[in-house]
Amino acid sequence: MKFRTILTIIGVVIGTASIIVMVSIGNGAQKSITDELSGIGSVTTLQVYQDLSSMGMTAMGGGKTDDKAILNDDAIKDLKKIDGVVAVTPVVNLSGGEIEVDREQYGVSLMGVDYAVLEDMRYVTTSGKKPGANDENSVILGKDVLTSFTYTGASTQLEASEVKPEDLIGQNITMTIKRTNANGEEEIKTQKLKVTGVLEATGGNEDYSIIADYHLVTDLNEWQTGRKANVKKQGYSQALVTVEDSSVVNDVTSEVEAMKFTVFSMQQILDSMGSVFQMLQILLGGIGGVALLVACIGIVNTMTMSIYERTKEIGIMKVIGASISDIRNMFIAESTMIGLIGGLVGIVISLVLSVLINLIAGLFIGGEGGVTISYITPGLVVFALFFSALVGLLSGVRPAIKAANLSSLDAIRSE
């Protein structure tokens, strides 16, 4: 093989490899984020909120409000009836609580859910167990409940306490909440909570909350605000709907939306992120594509040179009976081979590069089980091979047509 041809192939190798590596980095980012998000099991949990617009109308006190749009106990029952729904619970939040563990104060918030359906929800305890339906004063700790913000100079750091949430299993902790009464005096209420388990990371609010029974949380809330909650009229601020599996998420979502509630699911985030990542891939692929474009110019140049050098040969072939298409196909096949070989080598190199990138990234980022920065899908490999061959083919077309149309007599006379 000519040195010139080898250089041209190297050009294609670089072009193909940069496209693959670039796109693989886009892929890797998408994969690690979606794995992270969907791995935490919350894909099958939908967050349902009262529709913001209908809430606005109630607040203004005007107009007739559609009672379907209020997230009260009737609505919870209706949500339960939707096909594919396993469990529905209202969520009642309480913030501003404090607990003392090992002589340290931790600010906590409670997230109250219906213990009657706790068993059916996708909450998984890493240790301990879930409270039973009647364990009103039992709670599960989010895994980061004992992590506090500390301010060290300019930067904020998350600092895990020496005590782990697991250490508290089986113990009673005391939570205090405060309120200011009508006379402007501060009142304090204490509440004993029995820790039965620690929740696996969900990536959501739960990690920093204490899961409790919503009846208890409602009571504490009423004490704190000094007002009786009117669930029937105002509804819960949020409900969690657990569905069978991810395949029914979209169906359930649209049914809940039809009930005039606002739905929020990990699936929606994943879907919208998909298009962001697609853009990212196109962008990165485009950067790689520039390298392949340069390679393309290289192929055209090499083919033109080669035809120039082989003019006499082309003339001879035409005189002894090669047709226009014979000559044309011969040169197109040659440039396609350049593209194909370059593509194959480029794929091998980018596979190696991908492994290296992940290894090196792993050294810097750390983390168990390796890091995925660059992820090459089989589809990407097939696409790259096809694309490099296509680039070779297209680059060859013009020079090949030029060669095929050479006058045989002029060609044979050239030296």
Binding site: V319, I320, G321, A322, S323, I324, S408, L409
Partner: protein, 219 residues
């Protein structure tokens, strides 16, 4: 038949009205001074350049009306060319050069090799079939090019000074071989030559001068 060449804006007449019949199986010598248009005439005959006016008929085929592609296909089946400068492909062996003509005709590889070998046998070069042109003498290269012209078994072989670069002994060998092929295979030969010795092998000698046929002698 006429042939003009454009030289700048001017048309120069090279072939100024040639009217000639060649019978099948004839061996024709084209003789004439340099620049008289012998090569041009041969190239027009072989469809390598189109005539400016007039017709070329080979059997029932009107060469002068054919498109470039039709000419390629026609040459592939009916014509063989031999050049003064051999025109072999330098990167290919003798065998590959001969077989190349069959490649374009779509002949299968085994058959291609077998027929190329037969053609090289005819010219007595089987023992050199693995050699590149640069490893062969002028006479041997010309024999390879003859083998290439023969391998398709064309009815007509057009040769432009086939012995022009060869010494008289080798020229005689080549001409004898051509004569034998002409007799045995009934192939028609049109041979451009400067060498009066060559003409004695031919059945017909045509003298050209200044783009016209001056004399036609049957031998």
């Amino acid at each position: 038949m006429h042939k003009d060449f454009k030289l700048g804006k001017e048309d120069i007449h090279i072939l100024k009205g040639i009217d000639l019949d060649i019978e099948q199986g004839e061996m024709v010598a084209l003789l004439g001074p340099s620049g008289s248009g012998k090569s041009t005439f041969l190239n027009v005959l072989g469809g390598l350049v189109p005539p400016t006016s007039g017709d070329i008929m080979i059997r029932d085929y009107r060469i002068s009306d054919m498109t470039e592609n039709e000419l390629c296909l026609f040459r592939r089946e009916h014509l063989g060319f031999i050049f003064q400068s051999y025109n072999l492909i330098s990167t290919m062996t003798a065998m590959e050069n001969v077989a190349l003509a069959l490649t374009f005709a779509g002949v299968k590889k085994e058959i291609r090799q077998q027929r190329a070998q037969e053609a090289l046998e005819v010219v007595g070069l089987v023992d050199r079939m693995g050699h590149k042109p640069s490893e062969l003498s002028g006479g041997q290269q010309q024999r390879v090019s003859i083998a290439r012209a023969l391998v398709n078994h064309p009815e007509i072989i057009l040769a432009d000074e086939p012995t022009g670069n060869l010494d008289s002994k080798t020229s005689a060998d080549i001409m004898e071989m051509i004569t034998r092929l002409n007799r045995e295979e009934k192939q028609t030969f049109v041979i451009v030559t400067h060498d009066p010795d060559t003409t004695k092998y031919c059945t017909k000698v045509i003298h050209m001068c200044d783009g016209l046929i001056e004399a036609e002698v049957n031998q």
